[in-house]
Symmetry: C2
Subunit: 335 residues, 2 copies
Amino acid sequence: MSGIKDIAKKTGLSLATISRVLNNSTLVSEKTKSIVLNAAQALDYQPNLTAAALRSGKSKIIGIIVPEINNPFFSSIINGIEQYVGKNGYSIIIAQSHESKKKERHAIQSFVKLNVDGILVSISKESNDFSFLDKLKQEKIPIVFFDRKPQIDNIKEVVFDDYYGAFMATEHLIQQGGNHLIHIAGDLNLSLYKDRKRGFQAAMERYQKSYAENHVLELKKNSAQDTQILKDHIQKNNVDSIFVNGDEDCIYVLNIIKSLGYKIPRDIRLVGFGNLSISTLVQPPISTIDQRAEDMGMVAAKTILQSLDEKQPTSFKEVLSPKLLIRESSKVISS
Amino acid sequence: MSGIKDIAKKTGLSLATISRVLNNSTLVSEKTKSIVLNAAQALDYQPNLTAAALRSGKSKIIGIIVPEINNPFFSSIINGIEQYVGKNGYSIIIAQSHESKKKERHAIQSFVKLNVDGILVSISKESNDFSFLDKLKQEKIPIVFFDRKPQIDNIKEVVFDDYYGAFMATEHLIQQGGNHLIHIAGDLNLSLYKDRKRGFQAAMERYQKSYAENHVLELKKNSAQDTQILKDHIQKNNVDSIFVNGDEDCIYVLNIIKSLGYKIPRDIRLVGFGNLSISTLVQPPISTIDQRAEDMGMVAAKTILQSLDEKQPTSFKEVLSPKLLIRESSKVISS
DNA sequence: GAACATAATGTAAACGTTTACATTATATTT
DNA sequence: AAATATAATGTAAACGTTTACATTATGTTC
């Protein structure tokens, strides 16, 4: 493990020159450049990023906060982020909020202490206080929200078009002949689940299907009571199509429907959300909305890297558009 | 954002004393301790971990390398690691090898440059050259392998008892009345899949079931040819029990079996491996071996933290024992 | 070839801590 | 109360880079 000093010693050049070569400054001749690089190679030079970070104020680290890392949606986003920032010489450091705003704040604190150059965050369900934004602005640490974001202005966000995704899913179910649709909603504290619900409602109205609040069910998994409510609702109202807020819940619903003796897609059609890998593993494979998690990660990464050399913070919004994947669970069988 | 200097200025004490208080050294009086802590609070002191890392050589960061972050097994392990090290004031930094030994080496290099205090790694399928261990020893950076490890001596490892897990699974299938068992193997380049295969074989022999190499199938998913081989084998040999190397593959097999018209568990019984959350989402829920991923993460984390203040590197091995989870897919129906 | 511009290199301070060593204050022993 | 031990604090260097500023070498213009 040799440092910049060793190279200086070996080449007889000054520390400044070595540093300039290693950071490919233009203020250096081609000749010395190659001398230095050769020496660096020969000595197996390993830069000490900590020292560089201390002096320059740039750590080359991007901090990421997600609710849960073992949620395939988030881990795919992280995948996308890592891919993009890795190419640009940055490392990522990950923290989980576990849906707790306390842990979220704590993670941000840690990131500041570690001198991260930027922060990417998908907020927890609990989050309602965003005063940390002021602090980050003070410290000049840019922050980009992805997927889950606070409902405030002047932020940078890359989100998914949940509204339109839900609209497409619902529209598709209607076009397959659906007349009695319901929507299984997610946690309505999060704006994105609200958007999905709105998209459902909009499609219902667009196609003149009667819409009432009881066409939307919030269901707590593993709650026998909620399960019963769902079963009753399906049977009493001749439900023929269900749009579910997420693939996991969708599989849960799928199993309930099967247990009632209905055939999918013959009797009831189903569309999920998220395109998790499990969605193709069940029988029948479920139609779903692809959220392009990796793309989201890459866009978020690109956005944060661009923000790094911004003098004045600007706001930014990118909305990724949904893709409907039609699989067995919603295909009306052509007799 | 105030630093140690600001506290010194405010309290009139020297930098050394402040630092001592903040690192709870014993060499400081209770009185000054409280003075300093109050001042720190009042000034909203935020330690600069980069500076501390540079001077002390301790970054308070643990590097983790996994093949894929969006593999639920690994993300659960990471969960366990983060939980444990987080409690001890450490952060984690994550890199993915994507099963490439080149990326793996690159990640290790990055970690060294970032001055991580320790490294946790689950090696890629490609890995065969472990010369980086010498370098790390030189740099005095401890390394702990989890789940996937090189087959060499004098390392620290926390692994799972794949052999016994496979044995238990197979034994269970036999006890449920299985006579014609097969095993769908994973990538036999990895020792853990070899161990699972060995466990299967051992159980077969232990219970005097005829065992031949063609009772083990390596199947590439999405290969029509392999799928056909599997189908043929099941039908020709009256297979009644299948032990599959992992839950995902198991669901794949489950769907094939269903498509052949067999009933599970009536005609064929199935056990997977890994206890992924999807294993309970399919119909019927599949029996599986729980790998206690979070535990593994915690043990690995504990091991690496303990290694930090070791003068001489020692070797270490912890083997986590399997838990058999019996679900529908392997329950013989009591007539 | 003098005068100037520009390119290339060098010097030394700085980043914010920790820590070896030195000093001073306090407690204990005689 | 002097002598000694111990506890508490201070001084200043160090960690390995980057970078503002200074200097020297090279090229260009007349």
